[in-house]
């Protein structure tokens, strides 16, 4: 019973992790940028929802779309006027500049919002339902459902719309996409904006199940990275599945081995995957 409960908690948290990694995977797959500031964007989204909830009294789930819109605009501008300037330089430089952005965002957040722990704590935060003897925390379940719905929406967007086709075409071949009339500067900015919006949504949900501080970015970036590697860059559902895998592993590791080892285990898994199967999902590794 304990095992089943632990597994359930892992799955619910893992869905949220998956949503978090979606934005990173999208940007990585299309723009070939490993965005080290991704966790910082998640953090900003968390603050967005927090202040909409605590300041204006908007229900956190209603605040999610607003936060996503704000983060979309932020991501769009960031890509359009900063990252587009150096997008074609060596991988090291894009890594470095996003790291620099991570530092800037983290400390700006510390100046603006202070280092206090914030939790988005609506009145229904403590509610549970019991299903088959398992306790299902409603908030986590809702966060999980929201994550899966957003992943599905992303899938629909990528597969069924003109914009999605343009994004996929650009990811496959920039020159060819350009010849078919895609404006890459615009498209890159839109894609990064989408990634930031997903990060923002993940941040809001993360703030409901955990705490937001200016410093959560780094670990969340690392987690998103691991999940992206496990899930592959092609399919949003693969990423969500990767998130669930990591969620379960973390839950099991903290039960059987000790909570201090969770990061070591997920990173060890990452190295194993990187080394063991570089051919398939990492063709250009």
């Amino acid at each position: 019973m304990l095992l089943a409960q632990i597994l359930l908690n892992g799955v619910l948290l893992g869905g949220l992790y998956g949503l978090m990694a979606l934005g990173m995977a999208l940007v990585w797959g299309v723009l070939n940028i490993v965005n080290l500031a991704h966790g910082a964007l998640v953090m900003l989204g968390g603050y967005c929802v927090y202040f909409l909830f605590a300041g204006l009294g908007i229900d956190p789930f209603a605040a999610l779309p607003i936060a996503m819109l704000a983060m979309f605009a932020f991501g769009y501008l960031l890509q359009r006027f900063v990252l587009n300037l150096i997008i074609r330089s060596a991988a090291l430089n894009t890594l470095l500049i996003t790291f620099g952005l991570d530092v800037v965002l983290t400390y700006l957040a510390q100046l603006a919002f202070t280092a206090d722990f914030r939790t988005i704590n609506p009145s229904y935060a403590g509610a549970n339902v019991a299903i088959l003897g398992l306790t299902v925390p409603l908030l986590r379940l809702a966060a999980f459902v929201a994550a899966v719905v957003l992943a599905a929406l992303l899938w629909v967007l990528l597969q069924r719309t003109r914009l999605g086709r343009a994004i996929r075409a650009t990811a496959q071949n920039l020159v060819a996409a350009r010849l078919y009339g895609v404006d890459p500067a615009q498209l890159y900015a839109l894609t990064f904006g989408l990634g930031a919006a997903l990060a923002g949504a993940a941040g809001g949900l993360y703030g409901m199940v955990s705490q937001v501080t200016p410093y959560i970015g780094a670990t969340l970036t690392a987690k998103s990275f691991v999940i992206t590697i496990i899930g592959g860059l092609e399919n949003p559902f693969g990423i969500v599945l990767g998130g669930i895998v990591i969620g379960i592993i973390e839950a099991l590791a903290s039960l059987y081995i000790g909570a201090t080892f969770t990061d070591a285990i997920s990173f060890g898994l990452l190295v194993l995957i990187l080394v063991a199967r570089p051919a398939r999902s990492l063709r250009n590794a």
Binding site: V82, N93, F99, A185
Partner: protein, 314 residues
């Protein structure tokens, strides 16, 4: 050439004389700056010459500090043997870990090395002989001047090694790997062996710097020893000065250490913020570092700053 050697000799003598004239605070800043310069220079051996971005150097640093700390605090061995133990651990780890992960390229290598330091710090935090989460306390010595001279000696050794690499066949091979690894392989460079040698050299100097730092501050704990921001500072200092050059990393380390210390003593959040901004601006306007900026500015003036954007924008 001869003038250059004399100038460098005078610089080293001048630096070596600091503890005899400067006050305590200056000497302590000096030790920090010299150790940082060594770390940046060590990172440069792999990162600058082969273009492989390592975030695992902080784990070599951690192994160096823990090797020294375990030898001195738990086994009561002398400092020199402790440094040796740290270096052996770090180089062994570099070889063992390097063989599988140096097959990865680009982002994937960077992140795999990131994984190394995260895992090692978790393992150390659960080892009894390493004092678990609490850390270890080393025997206390009050000899800042001696630590300063040791750090200077180490920096000179690291820089001499890099100077040798830069003009040797080995260094040419590393540069060939950076420019085009497949082509280098075809031309007969044993890329795997070269990369592992570079990583091991890098690990060696990093570990010794860690050992000196551990004995100097007489305390180690997992969080401080495997601190990832330390690794990030190595990368930034090397990049800021000029990666793949002999003196660029030193220049970057000294300039950024000075800026950071001045700012951190007044307003710490602003110091970190400025550090981030410097990285962003440096990547946009001078991705080849200060040294290249100096020569480029002489050649073409302010247009140099826009050149990078012109080359790498969409």
């Amino acid at each position: 050439m001869m003038w250059r050697a004399i100038f460098l000799g005078l610089c080293v003598i001048g630096l070596a004389a600091v503890p005899f004239f400067g006050d305590d605070v200056l000497v302590q800043y000096g030790i920090d700056a010299l150790l940082f310069a060594t770390l940046a220079q060590a990172w440069n051996i792999l990162g600058g010459f082969t273009g492989y971005v390592s975030f695992g150097n902080s784990s070599f640093y951690g192994l160096g500090t823990y090797g020294t700390a375990i030898a001195m605090a738990q086994l009561h061995w002398p400092f020199g043997i402790g440094l040796g133990l740290g270096a052996v651990l770090a180089v062994g780890c570099a070889v063992l870990f390097g063989i599988p992960i140096l097959r990865l390229r680009g982002h994937y290598f960077a992140i795999a090395t990131l994984a190394l330091s995260a895992s090692l710090s978790a393992i150390i935090a659960n080892l009894d002989i390493a004092g678990r989460n609490i850390g270890l306390i080393l025997p206390l010595t009050r000899a800042d001047a001696a630590f300063y001279e040791e750090a200077l000696l180490l920096l000179v050794a690291a820089t001499a090694t890099v100077a040798w690499i830069a003009r040797s066949r080995f260094g040419m091979g590393l540069l060939a790997i950076r420019e085009d690894e497949d082509a280098a392989l075809v031309m007969g460079v044993n890329t795997t062996r070269y990369k592992i040698a570079a990583l091991s050299l890098s690990a060696f100097f990093t570990a010794i710097a860690g050992g000196i730092h551990a004995y100097w501050i007489t305390f180690v704990d997992p969080g401080g020893a495997f601190d990832l921001t330390l690794n990030v500072r190595m990368v930034i200092m090397a990049m800021f000065g000029g990666p793949g050059t002999v003196f660029g990393p030193l220049l970057g380390a000294f300039v950024l250490s000075a800026v950071y210390d001045v700012l951190a003593s007044s307003i710490s959040t602003a110091a970190a913020l400025l550090f981030g901004l410097v990285i962003v601006l440096a990547v946009i306007f001078m991705p080849r570092g200060l040294l290249d900026l100096a020569s480029g500015f002489r050649r073409e003036g302010a247009r140099y700053l826009l050149q990078n954007i012109r080359m790498h924008r969409l």
